[in-house]
């Protein structure tokens, strides 16, 4: 069996005492830094990358894998505990995770995120080892038209992220798409909507929007209530680990999330990110058991499924990276950078020319993932203590970390002015009852969507029918249409509103 041989080779390379120590240190540092609001996995890896230069290649990759998982999990921790997304994929985790924390169930939420992503990581590793070569074919079938249709599907799916009015959610997505277009147009080099401000030609930063809208907006809104009736968290913290009931709900969600993540992760360009959104969408469409907490109010499935999808997606996203040489996201791009420093050229040849490195890398991703569970399950108790800090001490600290976080991304005070503006906008959104999560997804997908639309239309010489004549693209659009109809159907709609009326 190739699979067993290959994995054995990988683990033989990776599984030494020294490497395990590196994995542990990486994971610990990654978690500690990733947990700071405003510092996502990309920033964490970028900061810690130099620390790995001096190590031998396999040790360096293992440490990076540890940092990556640690930072990602740290980001989810912040999302769950203080409602601040450190990176795009935790926007989804935040929705139900934060509500669970508010109800005193932060422990189960954190455990579900950790265990779900560990399981998904294991499955992703196996899939990667077994199907790397044949799966590449799928990615080749995706042209610009298919990507555009996939993003339309993803955006329609994002509508379910919002719990209020449907049309307002759609409008927020479009607004997000527009905000994503600010900056230099890659095709023509024209600086769009930048008002001759040099910093704006690089576009608006994701961290700036996330910190302003979610961080500042939320804090201002919280402070507008009197201290007595400010319901930030219940004092009572129930249990650190999920109950048997939780596990029963979690398992199918984790399985679904893992499957979706494994499939979408293969697509280069944000596949793993869309996976988290798609997984949440599907969970929300499944029927609630009697007595189960509705989505948006702290359903454990809403944490477990997207976290699993995200993780299995990032495992299978190695397939486009290693076969086409295309990094699927910014984190992987940094990993490629680290690999080239150690003289490993990503691409199809890596599997044959450096098999021990290739399989060693896959094994080290798994070790990083396992280390995360070992390290973080005991830490949950400590994170929860954080919630007992009185809000009057917590909120200045959050404001500070947001400000430092946005400043450190570019070392430019301009980002601090921007985050202030988005704080005001975020508060306006809350007052007007529009939800910002769909906006963020639109914001991330905006440039990619335009890129693929333009490419597809250029190839078809301006013929819009290209989106429906190509079978894959047509079926994706059909799925989007079906999804839209389902959401708009009166029966579902009334149920949806019933489930999501504000408390």
């Amino acid at each position: 069996m190739d699979l067993i041989n290959n994995l054995a080779l990988g683990f033989g390379v990776a599984f030494t005492f020294q490497n395990l120590i590196y994995a542990f240190i990486g994971c610990l540092l990654g978690t500690l830094i990733g947990v700071l609001p405003g510092v996502g996995p990309v920033a964490t890896i970028a900061m810690l990358l130099p620390a790995t230069y001096a190590l031998p290649p396999v040790a360096a990759l293992i440490m990076l894998a540890g940092i990556y998982y640690g930072a990602q999990y740290g980001g989810s921790t912040t999302a769950i505990l203080v409602n601040l997304p450190g990176e795009a994929s935790s926007v989804v985790t935040m929705i139900d995770g934060y509500q669970m924390a508010r109800k005193g169930r932060a422990g189960p939420a954190l455990a579900a995120a950790g265990l779900g992503s560990f399981f998904a990581g294991c499955v992703g590793t196996l899939i990667l080892a077994a199907f790397a070569a044949p799966l590449t074919e799928v990615a080749f079938k995706f042209g610009p038209a298919e990507y555009f249709s996939l993003m339309v599907l993803g955006l329609i799916g994002a509508v379910v992220l919002a719990s209020g009015s449907l049309i307002k959610a759609v409008a927020m997505i479009v607004l997000g798409l527009l905000m994503g277009l600010v900056g230099t147009d890659v095709n023509s080099g024209v600086a769009r909507f930048s008002f001759d401000i040099p910093e704006l030609t690089d576009g608006i930063g994701f961290i700036t929007i996330a910190m302003g809208v979610f961080g500042y907006g939320e804090i201002i809104h919280n402070l507008s209530h009197k201290e007595e009736d400010r319901e930030v968290f219940t004092g009572k913290v129930e249990g650190l680990m999920p109950t048997a009931e939780d596990f029963k709900n979690m398992v199918p969600a984790v399985l679904r999330g893992t499957a979706i993540g494994s499939i979408l992760g293969i697509l280069p360009g944000g596949g793993a990110l869309l996976a988290a959104f798609a997984a949440y969408t599907i969970e929300k469409k499944t029927k609630l058991k009697p007595g189960e907490v509705p989505f948006g109010q702290g359903n454990i499935r809403g944490v477990a499924s997207p976290e699993s999808a995200n993780n299995s997606g990032s495992q299978t996203s190695f397939i486009p990276l290693l076969t086409l040489g295309i990094p699927p996201n910014a984190v992987m791009a940094l990993m490629v950078g680290a690999m080239t420093i150690h003289n490993i050229q990503p691409g199809p040849q890596v599997m044959t020319s450096n098999p021990e490195l290739f399989w060693g890398l896959i094994a080290s991703m798994w070790i990083g993932n396992a280390m995360l569970v070992i390290l973080n399950l005991p830490l949950i108790g400590m994170w929860i203590k954080l919630l007992t800090v009185p809000y009057r001490w917590l909120f200045p600290a959050i404001v500070l970390f947001c400000a430092i976080g946005v400043y450190s991304t570019n070392n430019n005070t301009f980002d601090i002015w921007m985050v202030a503006a988005f704080g005001v906008i975020g508060y306006l959104f809350i007052k007007l009852g529009v939800e910002p999560a769909p906006l963020l997804l639109g914001f991330i997908l905006g440039p990619m969507m335009e890129e693929n639309l333009r490419r597809a239309m250029l190839l078809s010489r301006g013929d819009w029918s290209v989106f429906v004549t190509r079978p894959l693209s047509a079926s994706l659009l059909a799925a989007a249409a079906v999804l839209l109809v389902i959401v708009m159907l009166p029966a579902v709609k009334s149920k949806r509103e019933e489930a999501f009326v504000e408390e």
């Binding site: 830094i33 700071l36 900061m47 009015s165 049309i167 307002k168 759609v170 409008a171 479009v174 607004l175 798409l177 527009l178 277009l181 147009d185 095709n187 023509s188 024209v190 769009r192 909507f193 500042y216 804090i219 201002i220 809104h221 402070l223 507008s224 009197k226 201290e227 009057r392 001490w393 909120f395 200045p396 600290a397 404001v399 500070l400 947001c402 400000a403 430092i404 400043y407 450190s408 070392n411 005070t413 601090i416 002015w417 202030a420 005001v424 508060y427 306006l428 007052k431 007007l432 009852g433 529009v434 335009e450 639309l453 333009r454 239309m457 250029l458 078809s460 301006g462 013929d463 819009w464």
Partner: protein, 163 residues
């Protein structure tokens, strides 16, 4: 006509205005045709869509019966809004200085104290001693994490002291 849902009406208004502004801005760039899209094509398209969506939301807000109480926006929390945003702006001024009035960069530590004190004013109760203790803790923590551990390039002390 009476507005049946204030929140919806004004959010619709916001979408329409922003969408129209983006669409108007997009006409300043070359729009191109379907086969050769210029930089203005996609923003123009999205801006128009957003403006239409906003108009629909506004219209629905006028006729909808869903909110018998008029769904009011409610009072604005001017106090926290002012203090949180000022704290953030002050932090930026402390880090970067304001060359226009000749204020030199005061550095991270001064910034942390300024931010913590001003932000704390947004709360219900303000206890200077407690806030100062919090500032010290945050300063030590940030210094250890960002300067010592992560080696971020921050001005830590005022330029006239550190040079």
């Amino acid at each position: 006509m009476l507005i049946k849902s204030q929140k919806d009406f004004f959010s619709g208004l916001m979408f329409t205005v922003v969408g129209a502004a983006f669409a108007y801005g997009a006409t300043g760039y070359s729009v191109g045709s379907g086969g050769r899209m210029g930089p203005g094509y996609f923003p123009l398209l999205l801006g128009v869509i957003l403006a239409i969506l906003g108009a629909i939301i506004m219209f629905k807000a006028l006729v909808s019966q869903a909110h018998p109480d008029g769904d009011p926006i409610g009072k604005w929390a001017w106090k926290p809004l002012f203090y949180i945003i000022s704290a953030n702006l002050l932090f930026g001024v402390m880090l970067g200085g304001l060359p226009s009035i000749g204020l030199p960069p005061m550095g991270l530590i001064a910034g942390i104290f300024a931010l913590t004190i001003v932000a704390s004013l947004a709360g219900d109760s303000f206890n200077l001693k407690e806030v100062l203790v919090l500032s010290v803790i945050l300063s030590i923590g940030s210094y250890a994490a960002f300067i010592l551990l992560l080696k971020l390039q921050f001005p830590v002390w005022p330029t006239f002291i550190a040079g």
